[in-house]
Subunit: 219 residues, 2 copies
DNA sequence: GAGGAAAACCTAACGGCGTTAGGTAAGTCA
DNA sequence: TGACTTACCTAACGCCGTTAGGTTTTCCTC
């Protein structure tokens, strides 16, 4: 038939692309995210470096593809955790999805560094690559909004302020963990095991109890 | 005299070392921390690359020197801010020194990345280079301890838990700012302007009010 | 001032890198 | 079978960090 060959060829091509990305992730895990080398990828695939340019126009394009994939994975990890949780309580739901998110970041430190730090010299993600990560952020905003709607958070928590603080805090804990104790598990990590407390801090601060907790700035 | 010449020579040598480090910082500011190149440094100094090896045995040694210097600078920035502040109230003192620390990090993003993220592929700071940063951390621990002693913080705040959370939160806010909006000022930065609120969260959570605020973990 | 040591800097070279240009062999389809 | 496309190759360019070894400048001692 006419389409069989073509299909097989494009399928093989897709397989090679997947192989390249997988090898790139492997190499970054051992050598560091910024130390990815086209030559090393080619070597591991039994190719010469120029052959890689049949699949990606540059090293930055590999970073870009991985950035996008990381965004998709993290978005799905969060959504899956929420879907599996059998509770309607947004506070409990948040505990579960933050734990899932944190575990995912610890198990995929390469993706985390690529997504949350901007540490690779010449690389800036393309808009398409950026989209999934932004969707994940929008998921989070919606989640905080349900907390507001159900009366367990003040409205600021789901605004720009709350979202920025939420991501700063959770991201900060994960960053410290990865930077200082990268091999620890979610339960043992000196920083990451404090994530529930960090979350408590957020929910307590934005608790809509009588009186405004958020005063105090002296100027 | 016999020492005059020697002194001048070592002085000139020290000047060259300073020049190298200054140029390295400049280049990292424009090209990215991990993109530092010996050749570019040499070019800017009107040298050939191998000549740099008279002053530093490797590129990693330059990173190491800058890591150490960054630690010293940040330690002194914090101490100076506390010394200048004319208050004994540890809460107010913390507001002031965190602001100073944050401003410093925004104005010295290269140092911040070097110190707080571990993003340069082959580089691991030597123990000597690490010492000043550790002293700064110890300063912070002592500061939190005075808060505990004066009764405005629960004891956990000055323990491993509180210290880890404090650095995660402040570091997280700064990291987000630098990653997402690096050109903003302390007052305008989308994340960094929330630093007082983040600090409030910490102090409120560890406030020694009646009852234990830190319950809630479901497991 | 002359001699000699040491420091500062150089060129040449090695092996690696990302990338481009251009060629060859195999797979695919009319 | 012949045309086309794909997958891969070699050769090359200009970078890079680093080492080896030579030359010039600077300084101390006599």
């Amino acid at each position: 038939m006419s389409t069989t060959g073509l299909d097989r060829r494009t399928r093989r091509r897709q397989e090679t692309i997947e192989e390249i990305l997988a090898v790139a992730i492997e190499l970054m895990e051992t050598e560091g995210v910024a130390a990815l080398s086209m030559s090393a990828v080619a070597r591991r695939l039994g190719m010469r470096p120029p052959s890689l340019y049949q699949y990606f126009p540059s090293k930055a394009a590999i970073y870009d593809a991985l950035f996008q994939r990381g965004g998709e994975l993290i978005r799905e990890a969060r959504r899956a955790a929420q879907a599996e949780a059998d509770t309607e309580d947004p506070r409990e739901l948040d505990r579960i999805s933050v734990a899932a998110f944190t575990r995912w970041c610890l198990e995929h430190q390469v993706y985390s560094q690529l997504l949350f730090w901007r540490t690779v010299p010449g690389f800036e993600p393309s808009p398409e690559a950026y989209a999934p990560a932004q969707e994940a952020l929008e998921d989070l905003r919606r989640h905080l909004q349900t907390g507001v709607d159900q009366g367990i958070l003040r409205p600021e928590a789901a605004g720009e302020e709350g979202l920025a603080l939420y991501t700063s805090i959770t991201g900060g804990v994960i960053a410290q963990q990865i930077a200082n104790e990268p091999d620890a598990s979610y339960d043992d990590g000196r920083y990451v095991r404090l994530m529930p407390i960090a979350l408590d801090m957020f929910y307590q601060y934005y608790a809509p109890t009588r009186g405004n907790h958020g005063s105090s700035s002296s100027g």
